[in-house]
């Protein structure tokens, strides 16, 4: 834990923010072309965030502000744990459970601050967001446990390295196909994109938790959303698509997966929250369990692979 580590971590967080925000802007353009429009500039998301940060804001109490800082702080810390290729800001901390549970700090901070505003829309949105988390985490965690059992390690970076040993066919999306599909479906829920975005429904519950945010809290929340997206897509890239030996390879895989998730959300309607829960507990959970049984009892895909 030298000073160099902290400096690297800061640069990494800035890089993650910059990369994800640009990709979000490009995806806004792609979504607009999908809808036969032109779309904004590729750096529009940066303009939005800085504009929000520059406005004055109101607050409903100290927890309203503290929750936002705690959420963004937790997420920034989680970003520092993500491995890319051989780079790790802090060595030895990329355990999958640490990353998943620190994501919950972001959710808890936002939930705390949203409920602290006293607006019932915010509490409804938060209740839906937590139920959503219960839904998508179940199949995903079963697949993660399968991978820990199979590869005998729970470090995200090491799982990515093991996949790169054989080349393209070593990726987990080919070795554990059911698990990969479940991972992509759960990614849709994790990112909060349609069809699983009922917790920020703008017209139904007045954008849910964000109802009373303005000015710097809204800017911080946008930064939170970008960094959370970075963490989640990075998890999927590292766990199922072999991470990236070089930065360019990582960037290409990241861009393709995020654009794919965005395109799926562009053509989907929105599930009600109980529909989302029953959806995740049927086919994805079954597929994850079947994949788990295949790996635990036959070893197909792990020990019996090319």
């Amino acid at each position: 834990m030298t000073l160099m580590n902290f400096f690297n971590a800061l640069i990494f967080v800035l890089f993650a923010f910059f990369m994800q925000t640009s990709i979000t802007g490009v995806n806004r353009k792609i979504m607009a072309r999908l809808q036969k429009r032109r779309g904004p500039r590729w750096y529009q998301q940066f303009l939005d965030i800085f504009k929000a940060l520059s406005k004055s804001s109101i607050s409903h109490g100290w927890v309203f502000q503290f929750g936002v800082v705690m959420a963004v702080g937790g997420i920034m810390a989680t970003v520092m744990f993500i491995p890319i290729g051989d780079f790790r800001a802090f060595p030895g901390t990329d355990n999958i459970f640490i990353i998943s549970y620190l994501l919950a700090v972001g959710m808890l901070g936002m939930a705390m601050s949203a409920a602290g505003s006293g607006n019932p829309w915010a509490s409804i949105g938060v209740g839906r967001a937590l139920t959503n988390m219960l839904a998508y985490d179940m199949p995903f965690m079963v697949v993660v446990v399968t991978m820990i059992f199979a590869f005998k390690t729970s470090s995200v970076g090491e799982i990515a390295e093991i996949q790169r040993n054989i080349g393209v066919l070593g990726w987990n999306i080919f070795r554990l196909p059911l698990g990969g599909i479940v991972g992509l479906i759960c990614l849709q829920g994790m990112l909060g994109k349609k069809p699983f975005d009922s917790f920020i429904a703008p017209a139904e519950i007045a954008s849910g938790p964000m109802v009373e945010y303005g000015g710097r809290q809204l800017g911080m929340l946008f930064i939170l959303h970008e960094l959370m997206t970075f963490i989640e897509v990075s998890l999927i890239v590292n766990l199922f698509f072999g991470g990236g030996a070089t930065l360019l390879e990582y960037f290409i895989k990241y861009f393709i997966i995020y654009t794919f998730a965005n395109l799926v959300s562009g053509i989907s309607p929105r599930f009600k929250i109980d529909q989302a829960v029953t959806f995740y507990y049927k086919a994805p959970l079954l597929a994850a369990l079947v994949q788990g049984f295949i790996v635990v009892f036959t070893g197909w895909g792990v020990t019996k692979w090319l």
């Binding site: 806004r28 607009a32 809808q35 036969k36 429009r37 032109r38 779309g39 904004p40 500039r41 529009q44 303009l47 939005d48 800085f50 504009k51 520059s54 406005k55 004055s56 804001s57 109101i58 703008p202 017209a203 007045a206 954008s207 964000m210 109802v211 009373e212 945010y213 303005g214 000015g215 809204l218």
Partner: protein, 183 residues
């Protein structure tokens, strides 16, 4: 009513105006008959998003309040309440002739004639209703005036608040209603 002594903007405010000009969020609250012109402006043919504008759900998150048409006194109460819930810097764009001089409802007992007496307007768009081309043109003008620092309706509201409050009281009584019907 313009501010007589134009104070110069410092570097932070110029930088802020640079960002605020290129990313304007409108409040999804359209009064009156001009609201029908907003969907075509937002969708495929006249795409508003390429200017950086987009809708946001609540006044706390929004920058610009669009008064799209006439304002009855009942609506004026809620509009003033929402405007005061918005956060600085905020802008108002008024569509149509009803906001300028009353339009075709100039002699009605239930509508107001001149919006600028009650809320500071940054930009008027003439027409009954203005078409999306006119609206896009107007948004362009709004962006330029924000960039130059001329869209200072929020500063005027704070500086001349007695004037605005007096007019509001004369027209609608009290903004936040306290009577036995509501409580």
């Amino acid at each position: 009513m313009a501010i007589d002594d134009k104070v110069g903007r410092d570097a932070w405010e110029k930088l802020g105006d640079f960002f605020r000009a290129r990313s304007i969020w409108m409040m999804w609250y359209c009064t009156g008959c001009g609201a029908i012109e907003m969907p075509p402006t937002m969708t495929s043919r006249f795409d508003m998003e390429r200017l950086g504008m987009g809708p946001m759900a609540t006044p706390r998150q929004a920058d610009v309040l669009l008064i799209t048409g006439y304002l009855s006194t009942k609506t004026l109460r809620r509009v003033i309440y929402s405007y005061e819930q918005m956060q600085d810097p905020k802008y108002i764009v008024a569509f149509g002739s009803c906001a300028i001089n009353g339009g075709i409802y100039f002699d009605s007992y239930a509508t107001i004639n001149k919006l600028d007496d009650y809320l500071p307007v940054d930009l008027y768009i003439a027409g009954c209703m203005p078409r999306p081309e006119a609206i896009m043109n107007a948004f362009n003008t709004l962006q330029q005036s924000i960039r130059k620092g001329e869209a200072d309706g929020w500063k005027r509201y704070k500086k001349n608040s007695e004037f605005y409050k007096e007019n509001q009281r004369k027209a609608i009584g009290e903004v936040f209603v306290h009577d036995e019907f509501h409580e």
